[in-house]
């Protein structure tokens, strides 16, 4: 059951919301949280009861581990052992489901052992709820949380709006809200804003992402099946995929934020107009922001700190210092982020591309070179982003190499395996790209449109108000007509069988 399904919108959501109100009126916030935990498990169990069992075991195990770590108090070494053990167990479980076959491939490649693949189904969202809970263990070790009630912890780890594909929430930002006596807005206001945010996300997903997705699929699948490419089709496919992924994932994130708001819990932002970024660092501050925050907090910063200590200890020169404090941490962080997305060399290369680009960006600043003009910075950033997403999307490195070669080296005469060019309506693809490109570059984003009623647990930047311009939402009759029309249009455009791209991670 995905958010953009009739089962969810017309059955699960209304029933869950009604149940939430009843539970809250009968048993207070605590009762409401318990109800939401049960609803979240039911939501998750729609994929598979076995998956739900794995989720429950993960929640129970991490809750117990976190409490054990918290109980250690001054016994830091023991707490540290528990933390490392907990992280190890989580990574082991994730690795088993996600990376077993990748590791088998590597072992087979190195030793010719001929080990057979294990038939495993990847539990939806396992990367997300595992990392969220690793974050909790680290925060428990750092002493930045107090022991939560189980229903609060379970809701933090398994809340249905974010259990399948994020946002990667921090325990403290969720628990603080849960600890409040009453939610910050009235039910009607929360519902109105939350539904509007959900509607915007739904529209992004089913109308925008699903309308451009077929063009990306035509190019990647066609080229994968052996059809020929040219520079135009390669570019159209690559840009289509970039837009599809953005509208798909940011649509999902908007829906998650809207749902959270309806149930009185604000979630962190995941996107902030990433295609307006004028540098690669800026891009990662705007794209999948909670993942960037997670990896920055738990990998990049510790590595940079360690590098700084190491550079200080050996009195390193400027270049060596940069390598230790910026270059290596950036590369390692993005390679890990790449592998987190999936098992395969494509994801390693994807991480490598972005790690290198970030390192280059940091080096540019370290060298105090003049800032590039915004337009040039934007072009360079988009070149890296779109190229990286080709590697991200293509099923093999050979295919991504072929597409990138057609994109960047069109003057070379490639020998095609097939005389047939991928079947793509180039005019329609271009028109769709222009339309969607205009939206991402010129329109305010969802949270900017809703800036009067800030939807996120993150602080609202002052720029949001300015960016919204005239497109500023408020609960008025005129906007209810616009919202209802867009919502109905999206509802009536829900296709069969499409899911969120990020569910595969």
């Amino acid at each position: 059951m995905v958010f953009h399904s009739f089962q969810f919108i017309l059955v699960f959501l209304p029933l869950t919301y009604a149940g939430y109100l009843v539970a809250r009126s009968m048993a207070g916030r605590k009762g409401a949280f318990r109800f939401l935990v049960a609803a979240s498990l039911l939501f998750y169990a729609q994929w598979s009861a076995a998956f739900a069992t794995i989720l429950m075991l993960s929640v129970l195990g991490n809750y117990r581990l976190g409490n054990l770590i918290l109980e250690q108090g001054e016994k830091r070494e023991r707490a540290r052992m528990l933390l490392l053990g907990g992280i190890g167990l989580n990574v082991l479980a994730l690795g088993y489901f996600k990376y077993s076959n990748f590791l088998i491939d590597i072992a087979n490649g190195l030793t010719s052992a001929g080990i057979s693949h294990i038939h495993l189904l990847l539990p939806v969202g396992i990367s997300f709820y595992t990392f969220v809970q690793i974050g909790y263990l680290v925060e428990a070790y750092n002493g930045s949380v107090v022991k939560p009630a189980f229903e609060k912890y379970a809701l933090f780890a398994a809340f249905f709006p974010c259990v399948t594909a994020g946002p990667l929430v921090l325990q403290r930002e969720m628990l603080e809200q849960m600890d409040e006596e009453r939610q910050s807005a009235s039910d009607a206001q929360s519902l109105a804003v939350g539904l509007t945010m959900f509607g915007i996300g739904l529209f992004k997903k089913v109308v925008l992402a699903d309308s451009i997705g077929p063009y990306a699929d035509a190019v990647f699948n066609g080229a994968g099946a052996g059809a020929g490419l040219n520079a135009v089709t390669a570019w159209l496919g690559a840009v289509s995929y970039a837009l599809q992924l953005y509208f798909d994932f940011s649509g999902y994130s908007d829906m998650a934020l809207g749902l959270g708001l309806m149930f009185g819990l604000k979630l962190p932002l995941n996107f902030d107009s990433p295609f307006k970024a004028t540098s690669i660092s800026d891009f990662w501050r705007r794209w999948h922001m909670t993942m960037t925050r997670f990896f920055t907090t738990y990998i990049y910063t510790p590595l940079a700190m360690r590098g700084m200590r190491s550079a200080g200890a050996r009195n390193a020169g400027r270049i060596e210092r940069f390598i230790l404090t910026g270059g290596i941490p950036a590369l390692v962080t993005f390679i890990v982020a790449g592998i987190w997305h999936g098992a395969g060399w494509s994801f390693v290369v994807y991480g490598l591309i972005h790690g290198t680009a970030i390192a280059a960006n940091l080096a540019w600043r370290e060298a105090r070179l003049p800032a590039l003009p915004p337009a040039l910075g934007w072009l360079l950033t988009m070149a890296v982003v779109v190229s990286g997403l080709v590697v991200f999307r293509a099923p093999t490195l050979e295919l991504s190499g072929s597409i990138l070669a057609h994109m960047w080296l069109p003057f070379l005469n490639f020998a095609s395996a097939s005389s047939a060019i991928v079947a793509l309506d180039e005019r329609m693809a271009l028109a769709t790209i222009v339309l969607l490109g205009t939206i991402v570059l010129l329109m305010p984003n969802s949270q900017q449109i809703l800036h009067r009623h800030w939807v996120s647990s993150d602080a609202m930047p002052e720029s949001a108000r300015v960016a919204a311009g005239l497109v500023s939402w408020r609960p008025s009759l005129a906007l209810s007509v616009g919202f209802a029309a867009a919502f109905s249009f999206a509802l009536a455009s829900i296709g069969a069988g499409t899911t969120f791209v990020y569910y595969q991670f």
């Binding site: 009739f6 089962q7 910050s184 807005a185 009235s186 039910d187 009607a188 206001q189 519902l191 109105a192 804003v193 539904l195 009067r452 009623h453 800030w454 408020r474 609960p475 008025s476 009759l477 906007l479 209810s480 007509v481 919202f483 209802a484 029309a485 919502f487 109905s488 249009f489 509802l491 009536a492 455009s493 829900i494 296709g495 069969a496």
Partner: protein
């Protein structure tokens, strides 16, 4: 208003001051916004639903099936845009109005869609196929037959490849409207009911809500020269035609699409998409059919289990694949059911075994009337002749060989002499496989001579029925089902006989030992047809009526009654 809306951040009900009033105002505005949004959304969605119902009534209005059934009741056909109507509901409405009990009812999937009453002319035949059937459909359709007191003497239950697919593994939804009928039959049989959550027919409302569907439906409605309507014509240039006997005739537009190259491509694509997909068999489905067979036996219904053939291109491409292994399992289950209930077996997944060639298919699994005739021939043989149960525990290859031998034997008439009389059943122990195969060898040595009387009888029946059909059609201006209309292509009887003799795979697949006698039969039949057609032409000439020919199916195939079929097995 903006100020009021801004207070969403921190309303405090305990505060009776300015902020509290603003919060209250914000909540009121939000409530109003929600109410307006809800009302407008509901109206928009309702408008989309209503528009879809208007532009595709045959798809989305269950009461429309009553209109179609009423047309059938009055002897008319019904032309539709799309065959994917709620055919289960149509079956109910149609059978409810049916006069008398049918002799033969065929239950199965769309593989049967072109099997008209012309293929079984001396019987009150009803084609009860529904699209993409599962075991629930078998039970559901029998429930309708029971409910409206229409249980036939002979019931053909088709066991297709995916009939026993577990509910949780299905990705289509056309079967869902059968659930009320299935539940009723399940209750009769004391079977567990399906859960509502598994079987709620959500897909139809989903389609009704679909904007792309609305755009398609509206464009089709406004661009169409003719919209769905009751018709006395058997076929239509642009619309597919549903017939009262349960069969269909593709539109001329569709016929033009059905090239051999297209069928080949579809068969290959279907094979590639399915060859590695296992065929799943739900034991609950098998048990349900098992109990149904017992139920039918008590009520004196003679059941025949049938396998529909695949396109040879598809069949060749799935050899040695998991899908083929699945087919073997389905065959084994079918044999087991047949053996347990002492039922006749007809048809085969293997097209060659039925004499169906690639040019008889429009895709991987839908054959035309020529192939279906062969399939019905097997059924008809079972009806006329006693049934030979196949040992359930026989190895696949052996059982298959024995089964093939049976077809040879039945076609040659051996069974008529050697088997128990019609209606009697043969105990498994009394009909060992070895005996069947030995006798098959014996008959193979003696040739086809014993079959002649049957073929002659069938031949005369063929001519008689064709004549009757043509004459009745003249009288009713083509209003009867499956009769040639004015626009039907007009092969002469002699032509049709020639076409049939040249085109039928049965002829080309006949064994060398039987060629001589078959030629004699063919020649005899052609002579009879020519004479009959000439007589009819003379009669019409005298009466001043326009020239008419045999019904379409008969014209296309030449042979109607299966008794004149030559051996179809290798």
């Amino acid at each position: 208003m903006d100020q009021a809306a801004d207070t969403i951040e921190r309303p405090t009900r305990s505060d009776y001051g300015h902020a509290g009033r603003k919060a209250s105002s914000g909540a009121r505005r939000s409530s109003l916004y929600l109410a307006c949004s809800f009302a407008i959304s509901l109206a928009t969605v309702g408008a989309i639903i209503e528009a879809n119902r208007r532009y595709a009534p045959e798809m989305y209005r269950s009461d429309y099936m009553e209109t179609v059934a009423e047309a059938f009741e009055s002897g008319q056909h019904y032309a539709v845009f799309d065959l994917n109507i709620n055919i289960r509901k149509l079956r109910e409405e149609q059978w409810k109005r049916l006069e008398g009990k049918p002799d033969v009812v065929v239950l199965g999937a769309s593989q049967w869609q072109e099997a008209s009453a012309n293929l079984m002319p001396n019987r009150h035949y009803l084609n009860g196929h529904v699209h993409r059937d599962y075991y629930e459909d078998v039970l559901g359709m029998v429930e309708l037959l029971v409910r409206y007191d229409k249980l036939p003497k002979d019931l053909v239950i088709t066991i297709r490849d995916r009939l026993f697919t577990p509910v949780s593994q299905r990705t289509d939804f056309l079967w869902l409207p059968t659930i009320p009928y299935f539940q009723a039959m399940a209750k009769r049989l004391s079977l567990p009911q399906h859960r509502l959550a598994d079987t709620y027919p959500l897909q139809r409302p989903r389609e009704l809500l679909s904007l792309p569907m609305l755009l398609n439906n509206a464009a089709r409605w406004h661009n169409a020269k003719d919209r769905p309507f009751p018709t006395s014509r058997h076929s239509h240039a642009e619309l597919d035609v549903l017939h009262p006997d349960g069969s269909i005739t593709w539109s001329d537009k569709h016929h033009a699409l059905f090239t051999q190259e297209r069928a080949r491509k579809l068969a290959i694509a279907h094979a590639d998409a399915n060859k590695n997909k296992p065929v799943m068999i739900d034991p609950r489905g098998v048990e349900a059919v098992d109990r149904l067979l017992s139920y039918l036996a008590v009520r004196g219904v003679r059941v025949h289990l049938a396998h529909p053939p695949f396109n040879p291109i598809f069949y060749d491409r799935i050899r040695d694949t998991p899908f083929m292994a699945g087919l073997r399992q389905v065959e084994a289950v079918t044999r087991e059911l047949a053996a347990k209930h002492k039922l006749g077996l007809a048809g085969s997944f293997d097209p060659e075994a039925l004499g169906c060639s690639a040019d008889m298919f429009i895709d991987a699994e839908h054959s035309n009337a020529r192939c279906l005739k062969n399939l019905l021939a097997d059924v008809a043989n079972s009806i006329d002749l006693p049934m030979v149960p196949i040992a359930a525990d026989a190895p696949v290859a052996t059982a298959s060989a024995a089964y093939h031998s049976r077809q040879v034997l039945v076609a040659s008439g051996w069974m008529a002499n050697e088997s128990p009389t019609p209606g009697e059943t043969v105990d498994r122990a009394e009909a060992p496989l070895s005996a069947v195969t030995v006798n098959a060898a014996a008959v193979a040595n003696t040739g086809d001579e014993p079959a002649l009387p049957r073929q002659e009888r069938a031949d005369s029946l063929d001519v008689e029925v064709a004549t009757r059909a043509a004459e009745t059609e003249d009288e009713t201006n083509g209003a009867l089902p499956n009769k040639a209309s004015d626009d039907d292509d007009t092969l002469s009887a002699a032509d049709s006989a020639n076409v049939a003799d040249e085109g039928l795979p049965n002829s080309s697949m006949a064994s060398a030992s039987s060629t001589k006698s078959r030629e004699a039969v063919t020649s005899h039949r052609a002579e009879q047809r020519k004479a009959s057609a000439t007589a009819r032409r003379h009669a019409r000439h005298r009466s001043g009526k326009p020239h008419r020919v045999q019904p379409r199916a008969a014209s296309a195939t030449g042979q109607i009654w299966p008794g004149d079929s030559a051996p179809r097995r290798r």
